[in-house]
């Protein structure tokens, strides 16, 4: 029962330079993000495509270095880790990539892919190596005899299971899953989600689950973060987020996830997508200015701060900072 969080991100910013010749100062994929994940408390990250969710996933697993800020995994500063410490980090945190099939080498058997972490992080060799691979495959619902096959021989659901198996084979404490079910048939999704729940229980895992559809996080996430354009717009315990979303973007996102299709055309979530790439928000003003029901006069010129609106529930919104009572009265 450690006090320190499994993963701690402090003021993470990650920008990508633009291609040569384009002078727009680059793209800021993550903009001053701070969050932590505590063992036993799975976390959900929801947001539209382009919000920076995958970039965040790669940063948490130390595959991508932040431009500024620090990433600590189990206390180790990933930016200054020695080789041995880096190996310890890789062992602690596993990643299931969004493109599960693409994350397997088409020219090598799945046995090789699954055994690679074993080879690198453990001293398991020989027949025991094969046995371990077989066991983890069976545990995720496949047959050990299939380890000699190639990735393209498996269906979408099976590849997802293999990706999960690979992430689990060295018994990590945290697994980051980037859109684990969005490419799967609706009928297979429940199989995978149930599997993840069972595994979390059996292997004492904590998850960071990334999704664009909040309904996937139901029953999986204890705390959920809503992301947009590189910032966290709202963070709260999942139940509370669903019951009492405060940020207008969150409200519309949840509405749309239910496919209840309210007055769809005018929700902030959809309108926000229509802004062309070149005017990707730099957050010097609020990007929802102009389409937001809570708009104040300063929204177009001020970077919205993150404000605590209830215990453990924060929103990135100027309106809440300036006049919380007025917002509450307006039913926000």
């Amino acid at each position: 029962m450690a006090d320190r969080p499994l993963v701690e991100l402090v003021s993470i910013t990650r920008s990508f330079p633009s291609p040569r010749g384009v002078t727009d100062g680059g793209t800021v994929a993550l903009d001053d993000i701070s969050m932590s994940v505590v063992a036993g408390e799975s976390v959900g990250i929801v947001g539209d495509s382009g919000a920076g969710k995958s970039t965040l996933a790669w940063t948490i697993t130390a595959l991508l270095r932040p431009t500024s800020g620090s990433v600590r995994v189990d206390g180790i500063d990933a930016g200054r880790a020695s080789r041995r410490e880096m190996a310890a980090i890789r062992r602690t945190v596993g990643l299931v990539f969004q493109d599960a099939l693409g994350s397997f080498n088409p020219q090598r058997t799945v046995e090789h892919a699954l055994a690679t972490p074993l080879d690198n992080f453990t001293s398991v060799r020989g027949p025991e190596r094969r046995r371990t691979v077989g066991q983890i495959m069976e545990r995720v619902g496949l047959r050990a005899s299939q380890m000699t096959r190639y990735p393209h021989e498996f269906s979408g659901g099976q590849i997802q299971r293999l990706a999960i198996a690979r992430a689990l084979i060295t018994r990590p404490r945290l697994v980051v899953l980037d859109e684990p079910v969005s490419a799967l048939d609706v009928s297979i999704r429940a199989q995978i989600l149930n599997l993840l729940r069972d595994l979390a229980h059996d292997y004492h895992l904590t998850y960071v689950l990334i999704a664009s559809d909040a309904t996937v996080l139901e029953h999986m996430s204890a705390r959920t973060f809503v992301m947009y354009a590189g910032r966290i717009l709202e963070r709260a315990p999942h139940r509370e987020l669903i019951a009492q979303p405060r940020h207008p973007y969150t409200v519309s996102l949840l509405d749309l996830s239910g496919l209840r299709a309210g007055d769809v055309a005018s929700t902030p979530a959809l309108s926000a997508r229509r802004a062309p790439r070149s005017s990707r928000p730099t957050w010097e003003a609020c990007p929802f200015c102009g389409i937001c029901p809570l708009e104040t006069s300063r929204c177009s010129t001020t970077r919205p701060p993150e404000i605590l609106v209830a215990a453990d529930h924060a929103v990135t919104c100027l309106a809440y900072a300036e006049a919380p009572e007025a917002v509450a009265a307006a039913g926000g």
């Binding site: 697993t61 990539f97 693409g102 090789h112 892919a113 690679t116 496949l142 299939q146 021989e153 690979r166």
Partner: protein
């Protein structure tokens, strides 16, 4: 029938295996698939048989050659094929052509295969390293190789012969040098593309170091291409080696070099065409055999073409 979800299970849940429907075919190891794909191409299989025969001949020549290839029978010069005792006739010194062909295989095979194998090993290594690490070193390596691209094979052979003397080592060295850039470039391109592949990042996430990634993840992509390319090149090497021999840069007389044999027969081409023609035909057959095998390998090793064959 409109009950609630609870009754979706009217009885015990069916005993279903969530695990993959087990494919009825045996596991598709690369080897097995490649062999199956290859076997479907009859031309390739026939060509392979021919190559195996040639190799056997090369090994067994001393045992099966009817005559000593270097000893001529002055009484029996320029005998046409199907003369008693000389299936393929004799040359202007009375040496049995069949025996010389058989012994010639002992020169031709190494001269065709060794350069390609050496080039494959060296070229692959260079291509992998240059493609993966890029940078100044990588660029330099590829530029140096580009220089070798530009050198005509024969000129290089002559230069090497001037330094080292004529003979099989000269032939082998010259051809290896010329082929290496081709292979290196092919491997370089593959590596440079795959460098950014997602499975490479996944291997990194699995803890693999850069060198390990290069060998375990990227090299397997280059191997099939190199095998195919190399095999087809061996067909060309047969011809080039013969060319060297023809020019006198290969094994020196009285050695039975196929190319040199063609040269010997040139002066009698009109009256005794078989002296040059027979070795020429053998060269063509051997070269084609390598090409067919290479083509068969190409189809066998490319998963997309394999299932259609």
């Amino acid at each position: 029938m409109n009950e609630q979800l609870v009754s979706l299970e009217a009885g015990p849940p069916p005993a279903v295996d969530n695990a993959a429907r087990d494919l009825s075919r045996p596991p598709a190891t690369a080897l097995r698939q490649a062999v199956a794909g290859f076997a479907r191409d009859r031309g390739a299989v026939l060509a392979l048989v021919i190559l195996v025969l040639i190799a056997l001949v090369a090994v067994l020549a001393p045992l099966i050659a009817p005559f000593d290839p270097n000893v001529g029978d002055p009484l029996n010069t320029l005998a046409p094929p199907l003369t008693a005792g000389h299936l393929l006739g004799t040359d202007d010194q009375g040496r049995d052509i069949l025996s010389r062909i058989l012994y010639g295989a002992r020169l031709a095979i190494p001269e065709a295969t060794i350069p390609v194998i050496a080039a494959a090993v060296l070229g692959t290594a260079l291509g992998l390293l240059a493609g993966f690490y890029q940078g100044i070193g990588g660029g330099l390596v590829m530029r140096v190789l580009d220089v070798f691209f530009a050198i005509p094979l024969v000129l290089l052979g002559i230069a090497v012969a001037a330094a080292l003397g004529s003979g099989p080592p000269t032939v082998i060295l010259s051809m290896a040098v010329v082929i290496t850039p081709y292979i290196a470039r092919v491997v370089y391109t593959t590596t440079a593309q795959l460098k950014h592949a997602l499975f490479v990042e996944a291997a990194r996430a699995s803890g693999s170091g850069e060198l390990k990634i290069l060998v375990q993840e990227i090299l397997p992509h280059a191997v099939p291409t190199v095998i195919v390319y190399g095999t087809i090149n061996m067909g060309a090497m047969i011809v080039f080696a013969a060319g060297f021999g023809f020019l006198g840069l290969g094994a020196q007389p009285p050695a039975s070099d196929w190319g040199a044999m063609i040269a010997y027969g040139m002066s009698n081409l009109g009256s005794s065409p078989w002296v040059s023609t027979v070795p020429g035909l053998v060269i063509v057959v051997a070269s084609l055999a390598f090409n067919y095998v290479g083509d068969g390998l190409r189809i066998a090793l490319d998963p997309r073409l394999r299932s259609r064959a």
